[in-house]
């Protein structure tokens, strides 16, 4: 049994130590907002925060998580989905199919936590998640809007 702190809740999980954190989150804990897209740290669909930093959970084995590390998934990013990134996303209607978006949002939130006012250059370099629907320009606009604090509410 491993002990994980996910979205502020301590969970006992029963999984082999080499199980990727992604599948522990999805299958043992049952939070399915974090997605599987490639399994080899290429696409970013599985992005979660570990102690505030964006990590690709598909390539992080359960055994690599230290006791006490805080894991945050898309479900726990902000109460009421009220994170500035989520507000900006709603305002700009960023998602298309939406499958990449939990990862995009988590990566963007971590970027802004680290660099509150990123330049366009920094955003392009830092956000390497794959979106096959092609929402990139709205993602770019969304991060800029969120950096300005976003405007309250939707539409």
């Amino acid at each position: 049994m491993a002990r994980l702190t996910v979205n502020g809740v301590v969970r006992e999980v029963d999984a082999e130590p080499d199980t990727p954190l992604l599948w522990v989150i999805r299958e043992q804990i049952g939070l399915t907002g974090t997605k599987y897209g490639c399994g080899i740290a290429q696409c970013g669909a599985c992005t979660v925060h570990v102690d505030g930093a964006a990590v690709r959970a598909c390539s992080l084995p359960l055994s690599a998580i230290e006791p006490g590390q805080k894991i945050v998934t898309i479900e726990g990013l902000a109460p009421g989905a009220d994170h500035p990134v989520q507000r900006a996303w709603a305002q700009l209607d960023v998602p298309q199919c939406g499958f990449c978006q939990p990862g995009m949002i988590m990566a963007s939130a971590a970027l802004l936590a680290q660099t509150p006012n990123p330049s366009e250059q920094q955003i392009r370099a830092e956000i390497t998640n794959i979106c096959r629907c092609g929402t990139y320009n709205r993602v770019l606009a969304g991060i800029k809007l969120a950096a300005e604090g976003g405007r309250p509410g939707r539409g």
């Binding site: 709603a90 209607d93 998602p95 298309q96 199919c97 499958f99 096959r132």
Partner: protein, 731 residues
């Protein structure tokens, strides 16, 4: 009769502990499996349906039924806008649901065609869905009028409120919905003139955004059912090969493993309590394959077959005018070039998946599909049950792009597995590796173009010989016409409302030598319009240069009879500033085509560094789709289509070695990311009078516009895609 016969049952959303439902949240129920004795159709509805398209709940929520599939393209919102427009309801109270294909079958296809592809969602169904909305409005008004004892014509409806001005009375849709359901459906339904639209045609927010922001949107990958087990599968890496043997005992004792089984002739699956354990055991499972004769095929052997087709005697004719051979013989100058495109994988970000529950009496499947009816047919066939004893619950797609429409190979697989474990729901997820190597690929073709120019540099003749794969021959042979695949000629047809060539060339021959390798092709967003636009529009650029003319002027001379093609081309030329000098170091290219009923043109600005690195600064696209239902969604579709088209043109290539696809994941099949994304400007110029698609046509103009700009920048013609195989450093 209510269509959501089980809507009183708990939804998956609540079972998953998902987000709070707001009025903008989708009202999709992901139904639990039916108890064996449930009457699945005709059970007591929660709220009466006014007609097949519209349910109004007592709380005034309007449920609009959508037959097509939402895969990110916004068709759900667009179709709901059309129904709501005619219904005259309050848009803020609109929610949507998918009637199941089984219900459609039971109700004699009252919702029509479920297939979502070919950019058809809106253009083919707009009339009957609008009529559905209008008929419901007339029945609601008639019910109110009857209650008041006044003529229906004296009443009006707006935003879900019906008023009788003369007596000052008013009521709501929700209050009269029950009575309306009992009214005779009207015989004559008059639709609004699009110029009077207030909901349709507006840049409204999507209905499905909020659930996509907090992880609560349920995709096929996320389906959870009581007692569900997970399956991982490996199909023979060589199409046409079969399973020779596998050693189930070697993995039977691994954690969580419940079952190791062969699926059909060619695949092996492991069923376990979790997907990760199923996949881990499958990776450890010794399997030997009988790869069959296709194991000898490679990209090189395929290319040789296609090259032979470029010169073959026999070819199917797609477009013919005048005498090309004569024109070439009498030409002042003959220009010739050979182009080619490789296989492409759809690479939807959500890999193929489905969940199935089989019992001897009934089979139910939960899956993301672009065509619920085809998924139902695949379910029934694999289940060995009549379709009336099966159903499919459509789940939001994590991308479709054509992969999840025409063939339902993964549905077949999951049902075969579930059939071996009656009563247990089985969720099958393909790994990315399985998805990459068992796609339905963009077909491989080559094209030789030969053109005749006269002494003034005018184009007098053109022969386009396409050699290569036919999609229809592989997956829809019933749609072939006398052995010919009409889809091959997309964008090159002599006329018609769908995909006509935009030039008048006095002597023209477009023909197709069909050469079909064993790799299975499929409809890949943009389909054959993509290569055809590259072939013709890059070659047009070559001809303009050979004739010493400006590429825009050269084209315009041939477009006198094609005013709509011409209008979009002139629009992008104007916006990109074609007649003015670009900034230093920046070069331009442009192109136009027609497909999926829409006229499209593109123009790009690029630069190429001394090291040969390409930067695409800006792309302008113009679309004339006839009518525009939601301009904001069209804008997103255009930008998205560029990402998809440019990913293929710049990086994408599936190669074949020893009969199998070599690329297995995004490390070897790179796609466009944010760092390479250009600014996109979409010009929407609906000229009215027809309904064209918007999900696909613009994809075809991204690549030729960029390739023509690359030539302007470097003097290098990229004729074999993807572009990354060409060294762009100046010689």
């Amino acid at each position: 009769m209510g269509v959501t016969a089980r809507s009183s049952r708990p939804s998956r959303r609540s079972l998953l502990g998902g987000a709070a439902a707001g009025i903008f949240t989708l009202g999709f129920h992901i139904p639990l499996p039916a108890p064996a004795d449930a009457a699945t159709l005709g059970a007591a509805p929660v709220a009466p349906e006014v007609n097949a398209w519209v349910v109004v709940r007592p709380d005034e929520t309007v449920v609009i039924r959508i037959a097509r599939s939402e895969m990110g393209q916004g068709t759900l919102t667009g179709l709901a806008q059309l129904v709501a427009e005619e219904l005259g309801c309050d848009w803020a109270r609109v929610t949507t649901e998918y009637p199941t294909p089984g219900q459609n079958l039971a109700r004699k296809r009252v919702w029509g065609d479920y297939s979502t592809g070919g950019s058809r969602g809106i253009r083919e169904s707009n009339e009957y869905v609008r009529k559905g909305g209008a008929a419901a409005r007339m029945m609601l008004v008639a019910a109110a009028a009857k209650g008041w004892g006044v003529p229906a014509e004296a009443c009006r409806a707006e935003k879900g409120v019906i008023t009788h001005a003369a007596s000052g009375r008013s009521t709501t849709y929700g209050a009269v919905a029950g009575a309306a359901a009992k009214m005779e459906p009207p015989k004559d339904v008059v639709l609004k003139d699009p110029k009077d639209w207030t909901i349709a045609g507006q840049p409204l927010k999507r209905l499905d955004t909020l659930a996509k922001l907090d992880g609560s949107q349920v995709y096929g990958l996320d389906i959870q059912l009581p007692n569900l087990l997970n399956a991982a599968i490996r199909d023979c890496p060589v199409v046409g090969g079969t399973v020779k043997s596998f050693d189930a005992k070697a993995v039977a004792g691994m954690p969580g493993v419940r079952r190791v089984l062969q699926v059909g002739d060619s695949a092996v699956a492991v069923v376990a309590d979790t997907f990760w354990r199923a996949k881990t055991a499958l990776d450890a499972l010794p399997i030997t394959w009988d790869e069959g004769p296709n194991a000898a095929v490679s990209s090189q052997t395929i290319a040789a077959t296609l090259r032979e087709g470029l010169d073959a005697e026999q070819a199917f004719i797609g477009n013919k005018a005048g005498d090309v051979a004569g024109a070439l013989k009498g030409a002042a100058k003959v220009v010739e070039a050979v182009y080619g495109v490789p296989f492409q994988n759809h690479a939807t970000l959500e890999p193929m998946n489905a969940t199935a529950l089989w019992t001897p009496e009934r089979c139910e499947v939960w899956t993301p599909t672009q065509n619920g009816e085809a998924a139902l047919a695949a379910t029934a066939e694999a289940a060995g049950l009549p379709a009336t004893q099966c159903d499919v619950y459509k789940i939001h797609l994590g991308g479709g792009f054509g992969r999840r429409g025409a063939t339902h190979d993964w549905v077949h697989q999951v049902v075969l597995i579930a059939k071996e474990m009656p009563g247990t729901p089985i969720k099958l997820i393909w790994t990315r590796e399985e998805d990459m190597t068992h796609g339905r690929y963009h077909p491989v073709t080559q094209c030789r173009l030969r053109a005749a120019l006269d002494e003034k540099g005018a184009l007098t003749g053109l022969h386009m010989r396409i050699s290569g794969q036919s999609i229809l021959a592989a997956i829809a042979p019933q749609r072939m016409v006398d052995g010919r695949d009409p889809v091959t000629f997309q964008g090159l047809n002599p006329g018609g409302p769908e995909a006509a060539i935009g030039y008048t060339i006095p002597n023209l021959l477009v023909d197709h030598a069909m050469r079909n390798p064993h790799i299975i092709p499929g409809f890949w967003r943009g389909v054959n319009l993509n290569p055809n636009a590259i072939y013709l529009e890059c070659f047009m650029d070559e001809l303009a240069h050979a004739a010493g003319q400006d590429p825009l002027d050269f084209r315009l001379k041939l477009m006198g009879n094609h005013p709509k093609h011409r209008a979009v081309l002139e629009a992008v030329a104007e916006r990109i500033g074609w007649r003015t000098a670009p900034p230093a170091g920046v070069f331009r290219g442009l192109c136009q085509t027609m497909g999926f009923g829409s006229y499209v043109a593109g123009a790009a600005e690029v630069s190429v560094s001394d090291a040969g690195d390409l930067t695409i600064h800006r792309i302008v696209a113009a679309t004339d789709p006839g009518h525009a239902v939601n301009p904001q969604q069209i804008d997103a579709q255009v930008a998205g289509s560029f990402v998809y088209g440019l990913s293929a043109a710049l990086y994408g290539e599936c190669t074949v070695k020893d009969g199998r696809i070599e690329q297995t994941n995004f490390d070897t099949y790179p796609v466009m990311r944010l760092d390479a994304m250009p600014a996109v400007e979409a010009i929407l110029m609906p000229s009215g009078g027809f309904w064209g698609g918007v999900g696909e046509p613009t994809i075809a103009v991204a690549a030729p516009a960029v390739l023509n700009a690359v030539f302007a920048a470097t003097g290098k013609r990229v004729r074999q895609l993807p572009l990354r195989n060409t060294d762009l450093r100046r010689a």
